[in-house]
Symmetry: C2
Subunit: 252 residues, 2 copies
């Protein structure tokens, strides 16, 4: 995919970030979705609409899969698909006003081409894709070490950890420890920086699609926790890790 | 306690932080303590010795309780006691080179007088005490809201969460969620900012003493998880939270 398109999207994401920074000091309008800890704010909607308007103005034939506004399902991943999480980590956004991200992934026929994760309050945009590499703002990043499952920290989902799904507690205990930030985007950034070696959670396509493009560029492997390819549909138990840690955990 | 002493200690902590920033890009010498995920580095030792030298040069009669170098036990908390964690979150320091803190607490006859938590890589020093208030660098902070146990995020210890010690999983499930940074100091900072409402873990005195001075100034309550006063001795299951959340969880 062209670097020109990446530059266009970067500009949109930075602009969306400015909008969030303006809104985040104001009173939010918050609604409950599936449960009292599944929230959406007026800013989630506003950012999603802002980004979709940008995309549709230039690429009207492309498909969009996004968290809010009933844009959250697609028949398939054929053609060019934009995956959008306007505010990833809404609970953090609402309660902390930090530790959230704006995310976009661009896929072609199911193959990741571009990924963008913007840590808005720290003003760090992680972006890139195949043939481009991975950048933080304008700085090209080097891949982290390909560490084994025991030799680093894992990010995990609290509910899955509590229930010891797929022996995730054992993975944690055998490693250097577990961490929980509460934003899939920031967990992917942790992997890009080498802060964590893997991430196990229960995610929607817009949660993992942007980050997967970036960590795959650094040699990480990801799949459903059943070992099957990611579905880009519905919510799914998910693992991504350095190739070495992935193979150790998934036995391949 | 005098603000003059606070200013002296602040200068020491900033100086220690400069030293850490210099060292953190170099090859660390790392030793294993009680288990493979209980580490100490040459920087932990160097910072502790630096701080102790400063204290002993000015306050030779004071007592010191510190994590490393067999300075880790005291008969009692009588007189003026300095509690030091030179690098709180050593695993993060070693694996992430961020998300760790330098911490000092000053107590008199068991009563907290001054606390310092320095988030070194972000160059944010949280400090203060009774009669002074709580500051981030030179900016005075306002206390966060006194939220109930369900109305915010909790920081928890991974091992205790996995084992559901004292029904900690239920506290998590009934709340807005749980978070794990991997540094007691940064968990206290999260509470000072209102990012989390409480913290349940298994801590040593140098892990909780500096932060307790600060959050108590903001009306938080803390104790052993058995409801008894903190022991300032050995490792202890620990809870601290907004007064409202503490009372709801501890039933007082």
């Amino acid at each position: 995919m062209s670097n020109a398109l990446a530059q266009t999207i970067k500009a949109w994401v930075y602009e969306a970030g400015e909008l969030v920074l303006k809104r985040k000091e104001s009173q939010l309008q918050i609604s409950i979705k599936s449960s009292r800890s599944d929230l959406v704010s007026n800013v989630d909607y506003e950012i999603q609409r802002f980004l979709i308007a940008k995309i549709e103005s230039k690429f009207s034939k492309d498909k969009i899969l996004a968290e809010e506004d009933k844009r959250n399902s697609l028949a398939d991943m054929s053609g060019r698909v934009w995956l959008i999480d306007p505010i990833d980590g809404t609970i953090n956004f609402v309660f902390q006003r930090e530790n959230f991200a704006i995310m976009i992934g661009v896929y072609e026929d199911g193959v990741g081409k571009l990924g963008f994760i913007y840590d808005v309050t720290r003003q760090k945009l992680y972006w890139g894709g195949p043939g481009i590499g991975v950048f933080c703002n304008e700085k090209k990043l080097r891949p982290p070490k390909n560490l084994g499952a025991k030799d680093g920290l894992w990010a995990v989902n609290a509910g899955m950890y509590a229930q010891n799904i797929e022996n995730i507690q054992i993975i944690g205990e055998n490693s250097m420890g577990v961490r929980m930030i509460g934003s899939a985007g920031l967990e992917f950034i942790s992997m890009l920086k080498g802060n964590t070696i893997g991430y196990i959670s229960n995610l929607y396509p817009w949660d993992y699609a942007p980050g997967m493009v970036l960590v795959q560029e650094f040699g990480f492997k990801g799949s459903g926790l059943d070992g099957l390819a990611l579905k880009f549909k519905d919510r799914q138990k998910f693992i991504v890790a350095t190739a070495c840690a992935y193979n150790e955990v998934m036995g391949s």
